[in-house]
Symmetry: C2
Subunit: 246 residues, 2 copies
């Protein structure tokens, strides 16, 4: 992990850009963090639209988390931003667009091809980022994972023991095999669902919530579409992490 820039934002937040091999990433560190007072870390997931596109929303989440005393970090997803495209995922995306334009149901094959390669590639990268981030003297565990492609969150919650709590957004297609994998999740979960999410099947999201093996799991369903998560729902996520990571 190589830090490439440091920028002091308002509110005393320091934004560090880094690279992890060829993968770009950003770390936001609250001014209060120090070697003698390290802060817990939240990994900020995001949809595969590229870090540059997602930056305003990620920075807002980082600012909110910093106010609660958390460092946050994120990395570019495989096939997004300036990273090389993943041909299988590009093909699945084209198939998805074609199916939706034709008003056809989205097949399991398309969902698998869209999501599974992304999970396979992304999860080891987030784990490598975690190695680097937790080696910094200003951060320590426990670690939270928040938002983004929910299947990446599921796999990380199962495969990465350093992740102690996850805030997940039930807003993307979930392969059947990932629903099965969700049964192995045991960490505390806070799941957001937009009740009228245009690109998401509500019943599938409820079935996924039911499948999670966690003893503490909470579903917060709010009105509105995919991008309409109300501000108070974001505050509830922050409270969830404060409860579990502090």
């Amino acid at each position: 992990m190589q830090f490439t820039s440091e920028r002091h934002l308002d509110d005393g937040l320091v934004e560090h850009e880094f690279t992890l091999g060829e993968i770009p990433g950003i770390l936001w560190m609250p001014a209060s963090a120090s070697v003698s007072a390290p802060v817990p870390l939240i990994l900020l997931g995001h949809p595969p639209l590229g870090l540059r596109t997602m930056y305003p929303r990620l920075a807002a989440r980082a600012r909110h988390s910093a106010a609660e005393g958390f460092a946050t970090a994120t990395i570019e997803l495989p096939g997004s931003g300036d990273r090389p495209r993943v041909p299988a995922v590009e093909q699945a995306r084209a198939d998805l667009r074609r199916a939706m334009a034709a008003g056809e149901p989205v097949s399991d094959e398309i969902v698998d091809a869209l999501i599974l390669p992304l999970v396979e590639k992304a999860v080891p990268e987030w784990q490598a980022a975690l190695d680097g981030l937790l080696s910094l003297p200003e951060t320590d565990g426990p670690v939270g994972y928040s938002g983004g492609v929910i299947s990446i969150g599921i796999r990380l919650a199962v495969a990465e023991p350093r992740i102690a709590a996850a805030g997940l957004f039930a807003g993307s297609f979930v392969p059947r095999s990932m629903v099965e994998e969700a049964r192995q999740v045991t960490i505390p979960l806070h799941v957001l669902l937009q009740w009228d999410d245009e690109g998401n099947d509500r019943q599938a999201a409820l079935d996924l919530f039911d499948a999670f093996g966690s003893k503490e799991k909470t579903l917060h369903a709010n009105m509105g579409g995919h991008t309409g998560v109300p501000e108070f729902a974001g505050e509830a996520v922050a409270q969830f992490f404060t409860r579990h990571l502090k």
Copy 2:
């Protein structure tokens, strides 16, 4: 409305017992409330187990609400506590017990007979209580309704314009006609659901949540049975009322 006793609790909370005709009730007033600084009011719903049985849980909710600056009040339900039994409801309760003991499904007829007379009788009583409570110089609107038999909350939300927000607990049988009535509810709602509520049909609760006509409605589903609502879920209800009644 006649006040019959006044008791100063710890934390500066004052508990007033009152009667409304033959109906007993309790008002909890935070010490901060005064004629020049009246406080908003939350009506505390409860299951039909009698005020005396419910007292510890009601007083705890009153204490929590007082800390947020709310007066709270409750009245005995028809057929509960020392009030005369309602024969039709008693019959329905016996039928319900018999059906459940026999492992039979609970029929619409039983649910209607159990809930509808309670709603018909209780709602005008809560409205009369509201008349009395809002005539006190230390309380003013807006008013919230919280918990208890959800069908009473639905009817109050539809019929009583002074109720500005409701926190409902999807934990009791709901007649089909009340699901239809729920479509007329337009005030902000915060709905609690216990995912594994033994006496409650989860799908029916989700259908009811879907039916509410409110533009702002939030579902908080948590693990556990009917009485296992986690403490943090109660805090979220308090935040909901603070957002809408202050």
